[in-house]
């Protein structure tokens, strides 16, 4: 049994990293096409090996630690960002049996791990001893903290309906009833949209990417990083988005549940689809200002999330939702 645990863990970790690598390629290709460009074309057929070339390049770079940086924190932060982003993947069920960690407190744990990912970001920003990095980290923390609340609230909707915090049972509930975005649509759809928004903001993606707004902050926390350490920050962002889409499809789009065929396929399909939609958003929308961001989170998303939670509770008390 432990052998199975090792194997499935290695499998899921490798899958997540590979999918992320090719997600990188796919994003650049998609972004290129959306801007009437070609995207990567040189390395491998249709540029398919671009991520590998990128990795090889990053690995060879000279690591530079800024003069006055806090060396230990500076070195530790980027690998930790990737680690925390990756850890969430363990909790996502890719099939009725295929989840490295099938834990009963899955939903809060995922949110906690997502929140934990903030700490290395702040570490990186503080340790760089660079004003851009510090400002970026400050914004990142403020933003993730604000959007953490709507994230928890919207994640509560499936929890209330399924009566369980175990991701696998939530999917099983959707398998027995309906996918949450389908029915009850007035709960599932808004909760899904809010969840996506909050997730994007937590992962610091456009349109919520003021922490690394390259036109004002150079590159935010990654300003001072070179080589693989920069790569880790970059990787963490992509892993975060990918795993975030996996979580969103688990909670709202029925996870591994599909009408036919193997369940893993459905899960991967939904995740990749959602991933692409997020990149579509990314390459279409403009960045919000810091104050607009905060206002959006606290004035609109939090009350809306609370309303959804209470609505879900009322719905479960009615004869239709029992």
């Amino acid at each position: 049994m432990t052998l199975f645990a090792w194997l499935s863990s290695i499998l899921v970790a490798v899958i997540v990293l590979t999918v992320t690598a090719f997600g990188l390629w796919w994003e650049r290709k998609l972004a290129g096409r959306m801007q009437s460009r070609l995207g990567p074309t040189i390395v491998g057929p249709i540029g398919l090996f671009q991520p590998i070339a990128d990795l090889l390049k990053l690995v060879q770079k000279e690591p530079i630690i800024p003069q006055r940086a806090d060396r230990a924190l500076f070195w530790l932060a980027p690998p930790l960002t990737t680690l925390f982003a990756l850890l969430v993947a363990a909790l996502v069920p890719f099939g009725p049996k295929l989840a490295p960690a099938n834990i009963d407190v899955g939903v809060p744990l995922i949110i906690a791990l997502g929140g934990l990912a903030l700490i290395p970001v702040w570490m990186a920003g503080w340790a760089s001893h660079n004003k851009y990095a510090l400002l970026g980290a400050m914004r990142a923390v403020a933003q993730s903290v604000s959007y953490g609340v709507p994230l928890v609230l919207t994640a509560l909707v499936p929890v209330i309906l399924a009566g369980s915090m175990n991701l696998n049972s939530i999917v099983a509930w959707q398998h027995r009833h309906h996918w949450l975005v389908v029915w009850p649509v007035f709960l599932g759809l808004p909760a899904f949209i809010l969840f996506i928004l909050a997730m994007l903001a937590e992962a610091n993606r456009i349109p919520f990417d003021i922490p690394e707004a390259e036109s004002e902050l150079v590159a935010g926390v990654s300003t001072e990083y070179t080589g693989m350490h920069f790569g880790f920050i970059y990787l963490a962002e992509y892993v975060h988005t990918l795993v975030g889409s996996a979580v969103a499809s688990t909670l709202f789009l029925g996870g591994w549940d599909g009408p036919f065929g193997p369940s893993v396929l459905w899960m991967v399909l939904k995740t990749c689809l959602l991933f692409s939609v997020l990149y579509w958003l990314r390459w279409s929308l403009v960045r919000l200002r810091a104050d607009q961001l905060m206002a959006l989170a606290w004035k609109w998303l939090v009350p809306a999330g609370l309303a959804l939670v209470l609505l879900a509770a009322v719905w479960t008390q009615t004869p239709w939702g029992r």
Partner: protein, 183 residues
């Protein structure tokens, strides 16, 4: 609200873009058709007797707004016509700062300097973009020359010739890729 509507609009645009064929073409592999008067790099020509046409007068060096041309004048007997005349002992043109204004071409009294239809390929060092005299004479032989020379350009600007004639707008066929790659 406005943000939402604009966001949806831009998402529609990007979605349309994604299914349209891309606009970009990969430069060295595919060359776009250039307009007739497209001009980039330079060449120095030989005259009808087969001698170097440049007399080393330095008019081009003086008019160049970014002063990237240096000419060293030398006087000697022509090996072909046996007449004593001016030569450019040395001629350099630094493409890194050239504005492609074509003024040097326009002022040349002997139509010696002209521009090319194909660009120089990018280099790895700055010196790769400095055209020395041998390179300029090499360009004359190996690359397609541009439309203009001093005579044509001056004729165009002659007030006695009446209103400027509209340029022929027909597009020339793309230059062969081999010419672009052979620098």
């Amino acid at each position: 609200m406005g943000y939402l509507l604009d966001g949806l609009k831009s998402m529609w645009t990007t979605a349309l873009n994604a299914i349209r064929p891309p606009f970009t073409q990969e430069f060295p592999k595919v060359l776009r058709p250039h307009p007739e008067r497209y001009h980039t790099s330079f060449a120095l020509l030989h005259d009808e007797t087969g001698d170097e046409a440049c007399t080393g007068c330095g008019a081009c060096a003086r008019i160049c707004p970014s002063q990237v041309i240096t000419v060293k004048l030398g006087k000697r007997e022509s090996a072909i016509t046996q007449k004593k005349r001016g030569y450019a002992d040395d001629f350099t043109l630094d493409l890194t700062a050239c504005l492609v204004c074509e003024l040097c071409v326009q002022v040349c009294p002997t139509d010696a300097i002209v521009m090319l239809k194909v660009p120089e390929l990018p280099g790895f060092r700055r010196e790769d973009l400095v055209l020395s005299m041998p390179r300029l004479y090499e360009n004359e032989k190996s690359k397609p020359l541009g439309w203009s020379n001093a005579t044509k350009l001056m004729a165009m600007q002659d007030p006695k010739a009446g209103a400027a004639k509209p340029e022929p707008s027909k597009e020339t066929a793309p230059a062969p890729a081999a010419a672009g790659a052979a620098s």
